[in-house]
């Protein structure tokens, strides 16, 4: 709608009551707070036609007014996101602990926290954190959507302090912020969605061992062995909130939420992997450290204590990809995630954390990652009818008119992802036949970590 307003075309958009603040925030961030909306009681999705028609009848007056009433330019409203002008904030209490408690209470009331206690970002703590990078505190690393917040090194360092990071963790957090800002990640879509998109991070290269990242038992946490993993993942979430202004209920409209959003970070267990590490596979030197970020919808286990043959193991793994209730399953049939501002398009990817025991099954049979990908793609197929149960038929006709013949052959088996390269494989974990499968949202981005 903003694109059209910029071209001199008046617009009005239907908006459900629960999304008014979200719509207003979007309009503000795109520079048009006056953008008219016609408010209806609920989203049109999942509603019977007669209910939709009744909602429209109740809102038609707003539609006409939105297109015809003059819109004087107004001061952008500030509700929802708390932006304080002060660079430094002071809190007091009976003692330092009470002052820290007061800071936590206030930050929570502003919406600046993830719900867990925050470490105070004092001058001393930030100075210490900044020693973890060669970059200057005022260097701009990125501009983070959806709020278009200026991600300076110092702001990122402050959020890393609050998450509990140590200075040596900061380079990983900086790389993650760079990944978030990559146009291909289409952060706006994932940060503001009604879905549980969470950034899954995996680290490769020598930095893993230097900073104590866990790639083995309980790598995704919780626990002391995953301290670095946990605080780095948490810092990335806090950066999304306080730099990108991804605040729950304001701009993050996630229907249920997800524990993965607190923190989801691991290192690849390169030492236990029979294959080249993920970053080498993607064109980096083995001695370069990298951070890969993939937004994911959720996680399920890849459990198999029985299989000793790779075909059987991939048959088990492939069942994880057959969940029609997950957004990416067959999504390619109705198009690709795309951000027209940057001309990006993403194929949906899934990620498999293959445990060392399962990796060994593949190694014994001489299988490379490519064999696994192709086997998964061959096996992860579902009848077209099932894949389209939760998809708009007209979207198929728009995205793939050449495939509408499938309505005449609804039991035709169709791959759930677009091609075999859409399965990302990382070796992670301890000594048992249990890996993890993540339903991805779009494509991963990998960045070198600058130490």
């Amino acid at each position: 709608m903003i694109l059209l307003e910029r071209r001199g075309i008046p617009t009005v958009s239907y908006t459900a009551a629960g999304f008014v603040q979200d719509a207003r925030r979007s309009a503000v961030t795109f520079g048009l707070p006056e953008l008219p909306i016609a408010v209806v009681p609920t989203p049109f999705t999942n509603q019977p036609p007669e209910r939709i028609r009744a909602m429209v009848e109740g809102a038609i007056g707003q539609v006409v007014a939105g297109l015809t009433r003059p819109l004087p330019m107004a001061e952008p409203p500030r509700e929802g996101v708390v932006l304080l002008e002060e660079e430094w904030l002071t809190f007091t209490g009976e003692d330092q602990l009470a002052a820290a408690r007061e800071m936590n209470e206030r930050f929570l009331s502003y919406g600046w926290g993830d719900g867990l206690p925050l470490v105070p970002p004092t001058e001393q703590a930030i100075e210490g954190m900044l020693r973890g990078t060669r970059r200057g505190p005022d260097d701009v690393v990125a501009v983070l959507e959806p709020g278009f917040g200026l991600a300076t090194v110092k702001k990122i360092a402050a959020n890393a302090v609050m998450a509990g990071c140590r200075p040596e963790h900061l380079p990983v957090v900086l790389a993650a912020v760079q990944c978030l800002a990559e146009p291909k990640i289409y952060l706006r879509n994932k940060a503001m969605s009604t879905g549980p998109h969470a950034p899954l991070l995996w680290v490769n290269g020598p930095i893993r061992r230097r900073i104590g990242l866990n790639s083995g038992v309980c790598a995704l946490g919780p626990g002391a062995c995953s301290f670095a993993n946990t605080v780095i993942g948490r810092a990335v979430r806090l950066c999304m909130m306080n730099i990108g202004h991804t605040y729950p209920g304001v701009s993050d409209m996630d229907t249920i939420g997800s524990p993965l959003k607190y923190s989801a970070c691991v290192a690849e267990n390169e030492e236990a992997s029979p294959w080249p590490p993920y970053h080498v596979e993607h064109g980096f030197d083995r001695e370069t450290s990298t951070l890969t970020l993939l937004f994911v919808y959720g996680i399920c286990e890849l459990h198999d204590f029985q299989s000793t043959e790779p075909e059987r193991l991939t048959e088990v793994f492939a069942t994880a990809a057959l969940n029609v209730a997950q957004v990416p399953t067959g999504l390619w049939l109705i198009g690709r995630r795309a951000d027209p501002r940057y001309g990006t398009e993403e194929k949906e990817h899934h990620c498999l954390f293959i445990c060392p025991e399962h990796a060994e099954v593949f190694r014994r049979a001489g299988w490379e990652k490519g064999h696994i990908r192709r086997a998964l793609h061959r096996r992860a197929r579902l009848p077209f009818r099932l894949l389209m149960l939760n998809k708009e038929p007209q979207a198929l006709a728009t995205a793939h008119p050449e495939l509408t013949w499938l309505w005449e052959s609804p039991e035709t088996l169709v791959p759930v992802l677009e091609d075999a390269e859409c399965y990302d494989i990382v070796v992670v974990g301890g000594a048992a036949g249990r890996g993890a499968f993540f339903w991805g949202a779009g494509e991963p981005v990998t960045k070198a970590i600058e130490e």
């Binding site: 071209r7 049109f44 297109l67 904030l89 917040g149 402050a158 990108g244 951000d339 708009e392």
Partner: protein, 97 residues
């Protein structure tokens, strides 16, 4: 007494400001675009919108549009926005849930 001075962790936004499009006095004789982002039910809403506006503004004309890229939500590209801007005087969208 304890005092704690902490750095404000919230980033300043990079702000832009646009001028809204001028509004016509009414919709009589206007070409009205109905933009569906392909989220379920939006087509029903826009069809009903067209019927109601046609009753009120009998000489208005209507065109339906969809975004040219995307998946469960389809978006306009700049090229498609240019085309719509040439073809209609106002647009009603089902775009924000």
């Amino acid at each position: 007494m304890g005092t704690l001075k902490v750095f404000n962790p919230v980033a300043k936004p990079v702000e832009t400001r646009l001028q809204p499009a001028p509004r016509p006095a009414d919709l009589r004789g206007k070409r009205i675009g109905l933009y569906w982002n392909l989220k379920a039910g939006g087509d029903v809403a826009l069809q009903r919108t067209k019927e109601l506006l046609a009753e009120r503004f009998p000489d208005a004309r209507f065109s339906f549009y969809r975004g040219d890229v995307g998946f469960t939500m389809r978006h306009l590209t700049a090229r498609e926005a240019d085309r719509i801007a040439r073809e209609v005087d106002a647009v009603i969208g089902t775009t924000s849930d």
